[in-house]
């Protein structure tokens, strides 16, 4: 385990960003999102969540895939190559780390998404344990330990220090690179910090949410439940929950034509949108209830069916951000389970 004074974090960032891009939560216009570190930027450890999750780094909201250039009647395709430079992401919480695992299941299984795969291969992730979880957090319900967030390197803040431990080869290599800044330490300080966080975790109102009504093979049981009718009513059909979600992975591919040049890009899409997966005959989920149900069934039933894990990680972003406070917790509870009254 390596130790660094929190006040020296910028030295650590400067060293890493000397030869590669460093992504981390940065404040801009009053909101905190992942951004590219530049000298002097401040990291605020008290901020629990970025608005958009770390998904935005590995699977950006909008990315160009190819461009086509026409000259008269001639037509040329210029594919855009995936990332081939190493980069580092700092400050990822445990829930987002789990979120990346869910994305991996989708994008790294056959057919492999080369853009995502390249970013995963070239990116080193430094996670930071949560020191002040909020009432919207329920990651523990999914078996996540926010004090042991995992990833290539995991960090925990203990008093004046931040303590790093590498979990992977990539992690070890990165810590070696900045070894000058770090000093060795034992695990005790980290363990103390984790223990005090755990105390708070137990007090969280959503900590014991029961997921027994959900999971593999529950489609038939849940699909036609009458509760959907009422639940969906307050939903505005906006894409807030999907865009702040660390595991929502749907995207749309569009062309943007200017003059002779067409850019083909993909961008996040939301199953809550009425034009989602629009096809020639129209949309396959024409009413709000169907779209609303899809999102939760996908997270809590279909995804487990296919990949053996929930694709909700309990980060609580949608709980905090939904304009009408209609969220996955209400849905989970509405379908029953003990403690969920």
């Amino acid at each position: 385990m390596k130790k660094l004074a929190v006040k020296d974090l910028n030295k650590f960032f400067d060293a890493i960003s000397a030869d590669q891009l460093l992504y981390m939560p940065l404040e801009k216009g009053g909101s905190v999102n992942y951004g590219i570190y530049s000298r002097g930027d401040k990291y605020d450890p008290t901020v629990l969540h970025t608005v958009k999750s770390v998904k935005d780094v590995f699977f950006p909201q909008c990315e160009s895939m190819a461009s086509f250039v026409t000259a008269g009647k001639k037509f040329e395709v210029a594919p855009i190559a995936p990332v081939d430079q190493s980069f580092t992401v700092f400050g990822v919480r445990a829930c987002d780390v789990r979120g990346m695992e869910a994305l991996d299941k989708v994008f790294l299984s056959d057919p492999v998404d080369s853009y995502y795969a390249a970013r995963r291969a070239h990116g080193t992730v430094i996670s930071v344990a949560c020191s002040a979880p909020e009432e919207t957090c329920f990651c523990t319900a999914f078996g996540i330990d926010p004090t042991n967030p995992g990833a290539d390197i995991q960090a925990v803040i203990a008093g004046e220090d931040i303590l790093f431990s590498a979990n992977t080869e990539k992690g070890i290599a990165l810590l070696d690179k900045v070894a000058d800044l770090l000093s060795d330490t034992d695990d005790s300080a980290a363990d103390d910090a984790k223990a005090s966080i755990k105390e708070i975790l137990n007090k969280l109102p959503l900590a014991d949410i029961d997921l027994s009504a959900w999971g593999e093979g529950k489609t038939e049981e849940l699909f036609d439940r009458p509760e959907w009718d009422e639940l969906c009513k307050s939903c505005l059909g906006c894409g807030t929950c999907t865009y702040v979600c660390p595991t929502c992975q749907c995207y749309d591919i569009r062309d943007y034509k200017v003059g002779d040049k067409t850019t083909r890009y993909r961008c996040w899409d939301s199953c809550m949108y009425s034009d989602f997966t629009m096809a020639a005959h129209g949309t396959n989920r024409p009413d709000k209830k169907q779209r609303f149900r899809q999102r939760f069934m996908h997270k809590l039933v279909y995804f487990p069916d296919r990949y053996g894990m929930f694709s909700c990680v309990g980060c609580g972003r949608c709980v905090a951000k939904c304009p009408v406070s209609m969220n996955i917790v209400k849905v989970i509870k509405a379908m029953g389970g003990k403690n969920n009254g």
Binding site: T70, G72, K73, K257, V258, G259, G282, P286, D287
Partner: protein, 661 residues
């Protein structure tokens, strides 16, 4: 997939001199979607059109782009060409590379580049064009003529002569207009009344013509072939159908202070009056501002003496609504007010008069019984000075920027008539230029100088001021380079003319465009001089621009022919470029209805099937016969449910994209 043909016109050297037409054709040949591209000297010629027709057939073209002059010039031509070759006429787009390119740029490279961009924009648009089919609308076989002067009378007579009904609306109590006030007419010197009165009588007696005198157009709705006009018949306080025009009322009326409008206020008239002896209709009218009965509920003498019992002090304005297929504007003119020209002392000196006032003074039915006298003291003048261009050709803001056109000739007429009748009177004319284009016009003017020894002085007058019984004119003789201080008895001002103030109001009701001088704009200054750009509105007389009587009569006849051409049709082809509401998108919010100037948008509760979801809801429905295709609704509609055929959102954006490329 569209198969587009591009045709680049040289327009002789008009385009080819500053645009490399071959290069344009070559570049366009390589554009996606283009299967044929060529250039030719005159695309609008029969040979040029044949190239287009052949290409449409041979290359199975689905649309064409013609790079040529303005679409306002030949769009219709090329649409017909396409139609003859079996292509929908609305699959034609014009790139204006003459008026908006070759004629304004000198550098050939620059011109060529721009022409290519314009051609690409037209191509981008035509790729999104859809075949459109014009609808039909009916034609009400009746015409309205606004204004009962010589222009209006002539138009009405010609229309009626061809067997169509026509109504004249005249704001004064009688028809006749300005011409009825004239004494003699140039260059023949015949008596104005002698040639006008028979026409007035014809108009009154023609059973196809209905006269609405003392009436004004209040509101106009509808469109070509189907105008709906509301006419205000102002209260005359005399029953028009009962009055016999005997004139007994005028003799008894004790209120004699009203200014006689017919004599331009040079003398007085009674409160109840017939404007002049030959007035049509020959019916009295009461000036409510002067009538003692109406003002104070006393008197009532006219009612007592009226044998026909035609007086009705309680008459109110009436409104009638009628349908018309075509409207002729013949609203005429007035001399301008001279209040900004203090240097001529017009307001202070009764012996400074306008030319139109001189007409009345010279006229036997005028205030002086046709005797030329000084209005100040009734004495015979010995010296008269005419001043031309009073308020004409004036860009200082006091007058009118244009030449009033008729003043040179009527001044020569006045000079000649005075010298003829009163050889003892010296006549001087201050002029800037003497403009006499017209048959026998210059000869007429030369007679004034050579036969009648009228003294023409090239130069303007700086000021006119009274001195004792006389007037002093301070002017300049430009040829002698001398200043002239000239003592004279009368000064006659050739006052500029301007369109009647009602023209602007009526034009805006008719949606006819009007220029900065309030003259109605013609559809084309050379080729369509009697039509307004608004379909179904025709122009007659001075409302379109200054002109003399023969020109007015000619234009009135031309306008009538255009009206007849319209009324003789049973159906009109409507513009297919109209709005259309996409029911799947329409919210039924009614905002488009608010901005539609034609009331063309209505709402219906309709059963809508949106990809299997059926729902009855309120949606906008466009009446294609009423819609004129302005597009106001399309921008008001936030969802884009309303779109304009021929100018769709996508088409315009494609043009934008092509230009910004």
């Amino acid at each position: 997939m569209q198969r587009i043909g591009v045709f680049v016109c040289w327009c002789g050297s008009n385009i080819a001199a500053t645009v490399d037409v071959e290069r344009v054709a070559q570049v366009m040949k390589n554009e996606p979607g283009v299967v044929f591209s060529t250039d030719y000297q005159y695309m609008c010629s029969e040979a040029g059109q044949a190239i287009i027709r052949n290409a449409i057939a041979e290359h199975k073209l689905t649309g064409i782009v013609v790079c040529s002059c303005s679409p306002r010039m030949h769009e219709a031509t090329f649409r017909k060409t396409a139609q003859r070759a079996g292509l929908n006429p609305y699959m034609v787009e014009i790139a204006n590379i003459r008026e908006q390119c070759s004629w304004i740029h000198k550098d050939k490279e620059e011109g060529t580049e721009k022409a290519i961009v314009l051609a690409r924009a037209a191509l981008a648009k035509v790729m999104l064009n859809a075949p459109l089919i014009a609808g039909q609308s009916s034609v009400t076989k009746r015409a309205l003529v606004i204004g009962g002067g010589i222009a209006g009378i002539q138009s009405a007579l010609d229309i009626a002569d061809a067997g169509y009904e026509v109504d004249i609306v005249e704001k004064e109590p009688t028809i006749g207009g300005k011409m009825s006030k004239l004494d003699k007419t140039f260059p023949t010197l015949d008596c104005s009344a002698c040639i006008l009165t028979p026409k007035m009588v014809d108009a009154a007696q023609n059973e196809k013509i209905t006269l609405y005198t003392y009436s004004e157009v209040e509101e106009v709705k509808g469109f070509v072939g189907n105008f709906n006009v509301k006419i205000r018949r102002k209260a005359r306080y005399v029953k028009e159908d009962v009055c016999t025009g005997c004139g007994a009322c005028m003799q008894k009326c004790p209120s004699k202070k009203g200014l006689n409008e017919f004599n331009l206020g040079l003398n007085k008239r009674t409160a109840i009056y017939i404007p002049f002896a030959q007035a049509i209709p020959n019916v009295a009218v009461i000036d409510a501002t002067q009538c003692i009965k109406i003002k104070n509920n006393k008197c009532g003498l006219c009612d007592t003496v009226c044998a026909a019992k035609a007086i009705d002090y309680n008459q109110q304005d009436e409104f009638i609504e009628r349908e018309y297929g075509a409207i002729v504007m013949a609203t005429g003119f007035n001399p301008i007010k001279l209040d900004k020209f203090n240097e001529y002392s017009y307001a202070e000196c009764p012996d400074v008069i306008t030319s139109l006032e001189l007409e009345r003074i010279m006229n036997a039915a005028g205030p002086t019984g046709g005797k030329l006298v000084k209005m100040s003291n009734g004495e015979h003048p010995h010296d008269i000075t005419f001043i031309q261009c009073v308020g004409s050709r004036d860009i200082s803001g006091r007058g009118k920027c244009y030449c009033s056109k008729i003043c040179c000739m009527y001044t020569a007429k006045h000079a000649m008539l005075i010298r003829d009748k009163y050889p003892d009177v010296n006549v001087h004319v201050f002029y800037i230029d003497v403009r006499t284009p017209g048959k026998n016009f210059d000869e007429f003017y030369r007679r004034a100088v050579e036969e009648y020894s009228v003294d023409y002085i090239k130069g303007q007058v700086g000021k006119v001021y009274p001195e004792g019984d006389h007037l002093v004119v301070q002017g300049v003789d430009m040829l002698a380079n001398e200043q002239i201080i000239h003592k004279t008895d009368m000064v006659v001002l050739a006052t500029a003319i301007e369109p009647d103030p009602t023209a602007r109001k009526i034009a805006s009701m008719l949606t006819a465009s009007i220029d900065t001088n309030d003259f109605i704009t013609e559809a084309h200054p050379k080729l369509r001089p009697v039509e307004s750009p608004t379909a179904g509105i025709f122009l007659s007389g001075v409302c379109q621009g200054p002109k003399d009587i023969p020109e007015t009569v000619a234009q009135a006849g031309a306008a009538a022919v255009k009206v007849l051409g319209l009324l003789s049709k049973d159906k009109l082809v409507t513009n297919p470029c109209v709005s259309q509401s996409n029911e799947l998108l329409c919210n039924g919010c009614s905002m488009c209805q608010n901005v539609c100037p034609y009331g063309a948008i209505g709402y219906e509760d309709k059963l809508i099937n949106d990809h299997g979801i059926r729902e009855t809801r309120r949606v906008a429905v466009v009446n294609e016969a009423l819609c004129q295709g302005c597009g106001a609704c399309t921008v008001t509609c936030p969802s884009g449910a309303m779109d304009l055929k021929g100018f769709t959102n996508k088409q315009i954006m494609a043009e934008v994209d092509a230009i910004c490329k």
